[in-house]
Symmetry: D2
């Protein structure tokens, strides 16, 4: 039995790997070790660890290592403590492979702990292009990883150009799309009850509504509040119902939250509802019904392509990420944003595109993990 | 005045950047901030911090963050604590640019702290190829760095192929060669007094002698002691005088030390002398006089090319590093090693090659640091 | 000039030492070094660091070391990182004396860093008795401290019984009372504007109102939410206007917050207003006007005695702390609490008692710091 | 089954608790959890973890947390990282009681982690008096501990005077004496082979020999090298054979080592042998045979009283520790030390005294651990 240790550090991480966890558990020759850490163990980010346990997985270790502050400084420090904690876990669990997801700052801690301790590293969502520090983190992880699971050919080609051995690069699709696929295949939930949670007005989801989801761009730390104000002003200008999501915990989160809190105290908040966290299955169903998703969340581009959600993508955060026809790109300017929203309201839902996966990534990943034995010593191919 | 913060984590780091420090201090529009840390603050690695101060530099911060143990686990942990300590230093010193050197495990802490805190990062010695975890670290640092100072065109081309903006890549030569050049331009020291230091016999340096310098390859952790035994056996077999250097502090150091201690207790140690640390100027002069340098130190390949030292390079540590005519590569096998040593004893000193620099890297680096203003947001070029 | 380094880790710390900071700055032979850390640097606890700077003090270092989670586990970890960060600060600032305040978990980090680094330690608020882990922390700090500044004779006697040298124990009064004294000597503020901050109804402060301030008792971690529900039920039962304060950041904080959030969503919240943080000057004025202060805050007992505030003190948190006539003690039971509140509403304001100080502690402390040179080696007196 | 977690951080810790470990394992209602950490996991302190496993115990966790440097600064930092690592271990092992030993700096990490996490703490060797920072640490641990196991009545009385509940204080004797007792009851080893280990001359143990064991006094950091030179000069002056032991890893260790290294290079080293670590059983047998034990090790006072070893105790480190007739106290002065040694050479072995135990502490400790259920909330008794 090969021990595969999956490290989950955020709610987004979990939905990006959940389908793979099921396939690892089912697999004859794989054993799952699960470390839940960073924001995924915190109540104020929705206690993802408990959701994971409720889904039937056994959590091997819960690690607390986020330093309060949400500044660039604490982001560096949290990664440092993450290295301390994760290395102890790996030392005890002795995994045969570590599987890490995406490009968040704490993912770097997983990567370094595994690499320094001579444990082969597998990586999903590599090879893509985006803005923020995630861009550097993602490619740096690629340079440490022994097995690559990019979502599509574009990403896979980039990994190979980065000097990785083509035989270590496996185009499997994004496991997140597996999950979206399974949600949309089920009977839809009665979404009217969701407004018992969160704060704000009860919206009528049978009518036109917008979702706003905007996260910090760490390299634009000083403009984050103004940027969020532009987005909120555009929403107000459109006059449509809106679901507003709080930002993730990256450095600068507090600034975006502040802009949200200010709008919440105005009359414009009348047709708005504010959620800290939405269960992914609810979020995906909302994406399938909303008139437009606004902001800089990668979900608009990735899941949006598969679901066909009309998206207004703002600013640099998703810069150069491969996108489908469903996305309109705009700057942090209330006028531009409002105009793009109107275009999308007119356009309606787009046809599904599978540029980020076909819904069957998990079984491919599990099989490759079971059969591959990468050499621990990497060497650039050129 | 632009504040350039240079982080020095080991004795090797210092000699690889010393010429640049002088040029930064001399430069009209640059201010030097110097952080000395990791093994460079420790007495048992020769108290490099004091050497630096004795050379006239002002040390802004001394940071202690190496966890005792010298295993892969403590290497990961030391990097984590390095992140905690370095981020505090950067927060206080507020540098405009951080300059990091090479590819040691603690260098990664400098890199992440700077990158996460939105401080532009300059990097020397990137783009080269080698073995061990250094290979991954080096390329990962490249993916975070904003200004690249490779030693030669081969390395520069590799950095560009890694997706870096060619305008950020400056072929300057290795500053270590500047230092070697200045040492060899001075009147030679009387080396006979060096045997008052270290442990073992007094050697006659007017006669043929060998230097052995072998460091841990972290990815071959379990074989390190046996490998060192092969090298020592080869030295014994050759019957020539030998200077044996203790290994650096990477994971596995203890195993190599153990092999040295065992040989020291045998009669074969009769014509050997053991040094923990040699001042670089002494080491370079010894390289210029020795009949052969044996082991896996990068100095054989880098400085060796410039000096013309005959080198027997063992195993994977310098794998694929660009080398001159002065290097013979062999496996960890006493017979092979002994045979290569004999060849080099016959060959004598080689002509100087400048593949790692011409001795003028420092002024180029200082000028570029003074004039470049890189964008903090990086994006891969393809 | 003697360098006195004061470490402030929370809003409460600041108001407990503010008068001393002024006297140190004014003193001829003292120089102030100020480290602000833990919750005192965090926006969500009111950014105390900025208040301190706005009051004219120069902050030498801001340190981030609270691990998110607010569990017993993260409390231990935060203290560990506090030790790492504070020791680096002390190493750089090289204080002649460190002054630490009270008994919070992060105060232990200040204590150990100073003690291990051979820096004499002065301590305010030692020798008192209370519940929670603070009880152990306080006495342990006494065993490390070289200069003791207890608030009253009762506390001073206890410090001497703990084996401390009587000549190191100085009864000075609590500097917090200095601050209360200065606030109440000034012209009162127009408090009606405070309801622009916080959340909830606008209260009429010319009519009877209650303050509820209840913090976690770490050793009763599992009952905290139920306990808070009892207190809130008692408030509702009394039917009077109420100001509800959010708890501090100790382990369990989240549970108390949860009880508050639930009551906020009910109709009972109609005559309530909720504050995250109140400026101390506002809080003291509210204490001077409120009909009753309910909960387990030490302010009811300490400042309350001086101000004459009627107090209903609930549960074990202030167990055995010396108290004046203004305090009624009750258990965590809605009925008991409600009955005690009614008694206090009838009683009205109490005469001032100076059992925690006379308002002139700061000048005494500054003078003693300037003139005392304690031996670094402590020995128990029996 | 009650889970008792014992934390061992040094070689000395192990021999101070070994007899208790056996009794816990044998006990019907106790389960042993063993954490080995700090210097006890390091090769250069003799890899105590492996000795423990060789003795048949199962190690639950090995934790690396010593920062290299051996200065007051790194001592503080090591304690901080110890808190991080130990709290994770306790979180996973969920012990019912933590048992901590003595008064070393890393012991404080065990104490705080347990206390903050609401785990009852038992403590051996409390209530004694000594010099160095250990003096403060020991009494501070007492203020956190829930069950006290002092070695004798003198120590027990002091614990009660510190305000501890008398019912929590159990005079059991020191478990180290149990171990000494068992060693001396066995057939003596052939000690002539020990000189195959360590460095230096082969001594004739049938003739008069001295043992020198001197450790750093952290509060006298700057004089440590000179102090050790005095001791070594005294040894040389006496002209007798000597076994010299290297110091423990406290801050300043490097300075004492330096003095040893210098003497080792002189002719005076002719009748000396130097050991890094001696197995305790060997050390005890040497104590039973040596003409005199010189230095500042607590073993001279504690085990020395039971064994009857003539001891010359130097300086402040054992200040006020209760001692038997076998000890002569002197200052750090070569002349004084030499004179005291001569007196002891004349005196010969002393009669055994049981002031530190009768050899049966372990069974008492195990029984009390099995039957006591201390309240987690402590309160000072006065």
């Amino acid at each position: 039995m090969k021990k595969v240790c999956v490290v989950i550090g955020s709610r987004a991480n979990y939905s990006s790997i959940k389908s793979v966890l099921y396939k690892i558990v089912e697999h004859n020759s794989l054993e799952l070790q699960l470390i839940v850490c960073a924001s995924a163990v915190l109540g104020r980010y929705g206690d993802v660890a408990s959701l994971i346990e409720a889904d039937g997985f056994i959590v091997s270790d819960k690690l607390y290592f986020l330093i309060e502050g949400e500044t660039p400084l604490t982001m560096a420090k949290s990664t440092g403590i993450g290295l301390l904690e994760l290395s102890s876990s790996f030392d005890r669990l002795k995994p045969d492979i570590v599987l890490t997801i995406g490009d968040r700052f704490e993912t770097m801690a997983t990567t370094l702990a595994a690499a320094y301790m001579n444990i082969p590293l597998a990586h999903t969502m590599g090879g893509e292009v985006s803005g923020t520090i995630d861009e550097s983190i993602r490619h740096a992880i690629t340079k440490f990883a022994h097995i690559h699971f990019p979502a599509n050919k574009d990403a896979a080609d980039r990994i190979v150009r980065l000097g990785e051995d083509p035989s270590s690069v496996h185009i499997v699709g994004c496991p997140r799309i597996d999950y979206v696929n399974s949600i949309l295949s089920n009977k839809p939930d009665d979404l009217s009850t969701i407004f018992e949670y969160g704060v704000g007005d009860v919206l009528d989801l049978s009518k036109e509504f917008i979702i706003l989801s905007q996260h910090p761009v760490t390299t634009e730390y000083s403009n984050l509040e103004e940027q969020m104000q532009e987005s909120l002003a555009a929403i107000v200008k459109c006059g449509c119902q809106a679901i507003i999501l709080w930002p993730n915990s990256d450095a600068g989160s507090e600034k975006i939250s502040h802009a949200i809190r200010r709008v919440r105290e105005t009359k414009s908040a009348a047709r708005m509802h504010f959620f800290k966290n939405l269960p992914v299955s609810i979020y995906v169903q909302l994406m399938a019904r909303c008139a437009c998703l606004v902001g800089n969340s990668s979900s608009g581009i990735r899941e949006g392509a598969f679901i066909g959600t009309p998206v207004v993508n703002i600013g640099s955060r998703q810069f150069r990420r491969q996108r489908g026809n469903n996305v309109l790109d705009v700057n942090h300017n209330a006028g531009e944003i409002a105009e793009a929203i109107k275009k999308q309201l007119n356009s309606g839902r787009y046809p599904s595109e599978s540029i980020y996966g076909d819904g069957h990534a998990a079984e491919r990943i599990a099989d490759i993990l079971a059969t591959t034995c990468p050499s621990i010593q990497k060497t650039i191919m050129y």
